[in-house]
Chain length 200, copies 2
DNA sequence: ATTCATCTGTACTGCGCGGTATAATCCTCC
DNA sequence: GGAGGATTATACCGCGCAGTACAGATGAAT
């Protein structure tokens, strides 16, 4: 609702957001109560409703934040996606991320989207944009490789980019269910091998 | 709680389950109240608590039912997974299923798992088993093809099977977010192409 | 020091939710 | 036809939830 103006206000809002993000990733948005977030973040109700109109707005804000966070975190990698090393780095980063959460959260963005996509159109659209931006980065990289003659001229860049996004999301989901990165690792490796099969 | 014995009882329990399954797929388990299920299915509270101990038991029952339903629906296909036609049929079936839901539900099993995997260990394990059984069917098929010499002897059957499961789940999730089968279709086609690249 | 907007503490409300209690019906079998 | 379990109707309970009211604290600017 109100954007914070002072330093203290920013910190408070931030603490709520970060804490909510963590809880949402573990137990979903519907499975997390506002009180729980407030207790965990050491804030009060008045503070919450000073910065957010209602729970839905919090959810959307957190989701948007996670999206920007992820895209920022991967921005360096995205720029290297015009080389095999870049894709290897992408795979490694994803696997590393999964392990750092001990395979508990899967993909926070994907999870929240899966939970709310049908009931919250805004969340759905934000997620769609997220996938679009991810895909665009991959398309850029593959196109560059194609232009440099590293990929066959008839390579279906668009379809491959969709494919990569799909594999990434699927791998993250399965690692969450299996509590292990094994299948994710195998899948990502095969994905890379498939990309490389388009070498000219 | 109580298993129904009479015909009427079975029908009542069935109606609750089917209705819950539909609602869970659209709005998640936490996003669906018992009252909503009862209203929609035309049953009463006493009937619900006659057949289910609590909401968790309903959720697990519905989830288990969905799993068995899916495996049964695919059992014929699973037996044909020792041929390229079999995999094509699998892809077509998945796409057809997505379209029949107008891309609203994605994968009911995957969605519920994503929502509850971290908070309900039983749901998580059931889902894991589901993926295992799916993978096993794929492994059987690919192994048969390998033995028949249609796949190269060094083919990583296990890894490929994981890969297929991952792609299927990822495709279903993205179709839900994108409200379209386009990316799913492209991904599944590329998956098949990759499998076929292992031809000997 | 006073002012004034920002920020925060606390107590409260109303309601929807999961779950219970009790008793009434239905059906089958003897 | 009536005994007895299976099934169903209805009213209810208590709690946790999202959201509100309002007063109090903070702190920078003048």
């Amino acid at each position: 609702m109100n954007r914070p103006t002072t330093r203290k206000g920013c910190e408070t809002r931030e603490r709520i957001m970060v804490c909510a993000a963590r809880l949402f990733a573990r137990q979903g948005a519907r499975g997390t109560s506002i009180d729980e977030i407030l207790t965990e973040s050491g804030t009060g109700k008045s503070q919450f409703y000073h910065y957010f109109r209602d729970k839905d707005e919090l959810i959307r804000s957190v989701h948007a934040m996670q999206i920007e966070r992820m895209l920022a975190l991967h921005s360096v990698i995205f720029e290297q996606l015009d080389s095999w090393e870049g894709f290897e780095l992408l795979n490694d980063t994803v696997l590393h991320l999964l392990e750092s959460q001990r395979f508990q959260d899967g993909c926070p963005i994907g999870s929240l989207a899966s939970e709310l996509a049908t009931s919250d159109e805004l969340v759905r659209m934000d997620t769609e944009q997220y996938f679009d931006r991810k895909k665009a980065a991959i398309v850029r990289g593959l196109t560059a490789m194609k232009l440099r003659g590293e990929l066959r001229p008839d390579t279906d860049v668009q379809g491959l980019a969709d494919f990569v996004v799909v594999v990434l999301q699927g791998a993250k989901l399965l690692s969450k269910v299996r509590r292990s990165a094994d299948c994710a690792q195998a899948s990502l490796r095969h994905m890379l091998l498939y990309l490389q099969s388009h070498r000219s």
